[in-house]
Structures are given as C-alpha cells and as structure tokens.
Symmetry: C2
Subunit: 310 residues, 2 copies
C-alpha cells in the first residue's frame, strides 16, 4: 500500500508546512503510513523555523495521483488551492481553519474545521484527544505556525485558543515565544533580497467588489521604508499590472510587524473609494493604516462595502 500524503495549500506558508509535518507525526504515532509533502517553494520565514528546530523540509511534489491514492489536506479545503489533480485521489481527512467551499467527498471522512487562527492549534487538540506526546521539535514548528498566522498574536484572526496553545507549545519547545517569534517573523520580512515584482506578487489576491476589480498584495516588513524606498519602481510595476489585468484599484499593503500597522500604496481609478473606506486621505499615493494587519479581516470588508455601493 502506498503512503497517504499530507499537504497544505499552494504557495505554502508556515502554517501549511508545519501543520503537514505535525499531522504526519501525529498520524504516524497512531500507526498510519503517511508522509508530509509540499506544493511549491517555501518562504524565508518557514525555512528559518525548520532550520531552528532542525526538521527536514517536506519533499516537494507537483501532482499527487502518481504517488498515492489517498491524501489528507491541512490548512485548506478549496480545490483550486490544492494539488492540480486533487480530484483524481481520495481525500480521507481535512484539518483546516478556513471557510468551506468547492469541496466535496464521495463518502464520510474525518473533517475537522474550526474558526481559530491557525491549523496547528487544531492539531494540538487532536494530539491531546488521542493522548499523544508532542515531540519537542514538532512543538517548535506548531508554535511557529501560530506565530506566523497570528503575526505574534496581534492579528484579529487570533483567538484565545491560539494564544493558549502557543503558550503550552513554547514550553514544550523550550523557547521564548516572543523573542523567537520576532526573529522568525523578521527572517520572513527581509525585503532586501526581493525584486519589486516579487514584492507585488508573492502574496497577492484579486477580488471582485461590486462592479470593480481590486487586487490586494501584502508584504511583511520590519520597516515599511525598506519597501517604500523603491516607491517609483513599485508604482511603475503596479501601473503595468493595472493595465494588463484591467484593475480598478490596486492596494499594496506593507505591514510593519513591529508596530502592527500597515502603510498602503494605492493606485488605480478608484482610489477615492479607498479614501472613503479607511477615512484617510492619500498622500503621494500612500496612507498609514493604524492597527491594520489582516487583509481578510481589515482590508477586504471596508473596501467591499464602499465599492459594492458605487
């Protein structure tokens, strides 16, 4: 029998990689024949976490059906975020913390989706429900996942359950959550090595809001000025994207992980909608968004509100 593969979403983040590794450990402890794999390149933050806790990176794979007949999804459930040939294999389990959509199974499966800030928080519960021990290095990775998804507990997506889980995992891992977490976030926030194109595309999503098409890209940094020093270049590239994709609005959210707010660089025909949504005038195409760190919870809703009423 071939191994059941465990993986998270494409463009993997720290939660996707670390939750796949942790759940593979959990299932192995329960006697299952599984392997954690990944769909795509790892980012600098995740690489830092794996190096710190000396855990090997999961094997990268492209398609799954040539490797196995059964897979377990972590940190996602929507088909378009998963392996391209996901419909050719059987999903036997899902552990996730996102909305449920574009997902269907032939028979009953183990599906554990909870409205918490991180998949690793759910996996910690499953360890406990099965009275299993979390190995020290796995605890470190699970802690890294929670810190990453919650921006060190500052994101509005972070719940009391995530904070409590992180506290216990830090103890098992033998690290100080705050100082380790900041080091890890900084490793992922090194913008100096990234091209303007990379900054604008590594974490970008397009949204339809009313009759308008808005793209919102986001990057983490320890100092937004490290990014804004390339504002001219960025604007050139953004204007090309607006033309090529027929966008009405492009919002580039440069998040300051030390101050827990963001600077937005905003271009396109509908910049007035941005100003109305955030009650903030743009100066030289930029505005500081006090306390804003979550695209999902703090940027998309107010913009959708304004644009869908125009």
């Amino acid at each position: 029998m071939s191994k059941t593969l465990i993986f998270g979403h494409k463009n993997p983040d720290t939660d996707t990689i670390c939750s796949a590794i942790a759940y593979a450990d959990l299932k192995t402890q329960l006697g299952a024949h599984v392997e954690a794999v990944r769909l795509g390149e790892m980012n600098g933050e995740t690489t830092f976490a794996l190096n710190y806790f000396q855990v090997e990176a999961p094997r990268p794979i492209d398609k799954v059906a040539s490797h196995t007949n059964e897979v377990i999804l972590v940190d996602h459930n929507e088909q378009q975020q998963s392996a391209d040939d996901i419909s050719d294999v059987v999903v036997t389990e899902v552990i996730d913390h996102h909305r449920i959509a574009n997902f269907e199974t032939a028979g009953p499966i183990y599906c554990r989706i909870e409205p918490v800030g991180c998949t690793a928080t759910i996996i910690k519960k499953i360890y406990e429900e099965n009275q299993l021990t979390i190995p020290k290095e796995i605890a470190g990775l699970m802690l890294s996942a929670i810190i990453s998804d919650s921006l060190l507990f500052k994101s509005p997506t972070c719940t009391e359950q995530d904070v409590q889980a992180a506290r216990e995992l830090a103890t098992i891992a033998g690290v100080d959550a705050d100082s380790y977490g900041l080091d890890m976030l900084k490793a992922g926030a090194d913008v100096s090595t990234k091209s303007v194109q990379q900054l604008l595309t590594l974490d970008a999503k397009i949204f339809t809001m009313g009759d308008f098409k808005t793209e919102i890209a986001q990057v983490n940094t320890v100092d937004p000025n490290d990014v804004l020093s390339r504002q001219m270049e960025l604007e050139d590239e953004i204007n090309k994207l607006i033309t090529a994709k027929h966008l009405d609005l492009f919002v580039f959210v440069i998040t300051d992980i030390l101050e827990n707010d963001s600077v937005a660089l905003v271009l396109g025909k509908q910049t007035a909608a941005f100003e109305q949504a955030f009650e903030e005038k743009l100066t030289n195409h930029t505005a500081r968004l006090q306390g804003v760190v979550s695209r999902k919870k703090q940027v998309v809703p107010p913009l959708t509100n304004v644009l869908s009423q125009m």
Copy 2:
C-alpha cells in the same frame, strides 16, 4: 439576539432528532442561546425514545430565516436535505457523519464530521472534550440514536467508537442497551399502521447508476411477511412509480431487524442487473439478501457496479 436553531435533516430519523436535542443541551451548558427544532414529522421509533426518556419533542418549523439568522446543522450538511431557505441564514456549526457535498460557507465555522456510524457518537466526544456532564435522559436519547443508525450495532456502518459510546451512554441512562434497543426498533418497525404508499415512500432515494435510474426504498420490520402479505398491492404501486418516474429498476428492501437480513422486492426492466449484483435469482420478484441491512454500504455499491458497466 434571537436563538441559534439546531436541527437535522428533513424526514427526520432518531439520530437527527436526538442529536439536535443533545447538542442543544451541550451548547446551553456552554452558555449559548440555542433551541433544537425539527424539519418534519417524527417517526414511531423516535417518538418511542422521547416518551421513554420523557423528553419533549423539538418544535417543528418549516422555514428558518423568519426565526433566526444563525443555525447549527446536525446529522447532515447537504443543502437539499436541509431547510428550504437554508441559504438565507448563516450556518455556524456542522456536526455530521455523512459525505460532504453541496455545502459552502462565507467564513470559517466549527465543522466536525467524522466517519462513524452516528452523529450522537461525535457529540459524546464533544461533551467529554469540554468536560461537561451528559444528563441521564440526554444519554438515553444519544443511545437511542446510535441504536437506530446502527440497527443495534449490526449495520456495517457501525464502528468500534459507536459501540463503546453506546455502552457508556447505556450506563449513564440506566438501561440495558440490547433489550431497550430492541423495544425501540420494534416500535419503529410497526408496519401494520402504514399504507402501501407510506411503506414505499417514507425512506426512499433515487440513484443514477450508469445510464439507469434506480429507486431504492427501505423499511424496517420484525417480520418481512407482515409487509409481503400485501405484495400484490405493493407491486401495483411500484409499477405506477416506475411509469411515473421513468425508473429502470425499483428495489424495495424489507429489513428484518431481528434476523439482520433483508428481503428485496424487485421490479423494472433491469431486474437481471439486480440478480447479477447479488448473485441471487428472483422468485416471484423477491430474493432474500443474507446479512444485508445497509442501503448505503450493501445495496447501492453492488448495483452501481453492475449497472454502470452495462
């Protein structure tokens, strides 16, 4: 704020009703403002269980959006099995043991689906995870749900987890699972009061198998002869259904809950496919199916196999 309504599927069975009541108790213990309701009439088996443990029946409702904005689904997730206006309200939780299909949420929710034999088995775990006490009468209803979905642990859908949960629930409820369970199943298996039309429609599902349309109805009884004594009448009615619905095959599964097997009454153009699927010749349109009690696990798969290769 209006109450969150908790309910199971249309044509409610014992698991749907009892799991709604149990989960409402659990959520109330956790401080939530909830009410168990039902979509449709209760069957004789469920009524027996509620009377035995002296629990009031949930209030029947038709549509949900006029009552509340938030609902919790138990024992189902597919939209067409739920309230007609389910898309007008927000589903905040799902506790279920069926396949996932035709289900989508706007945001992350608490979704707990496990491949066990009964929803009540999952709810028992959630009581324990929250360190809550299961009241005696609620334990009785949860036991009833497991006995019903597993036909007293004889169905191939029944797992070791269901058996273990039922054992513990019987102790809390203070009843003997086997003798209580048989009484409950018998109460639901009283066919004398049902019309031929009711026998053929109360639990009937249509399946597309290859190029063919098959309807499979099922009824529980303590003696299949109580049903087959009306074979002439039944055949007349089945032939009417075949004509009206353009069916290629109609299989009426009369399940003997004491012997744990079934007699099938089979009509339509594709009766040969039935004979091939079960390696059993029909005599006077009937065949005994040794050990067959589950439509989902034992009737649909072999028929689908044969018909989809024709």
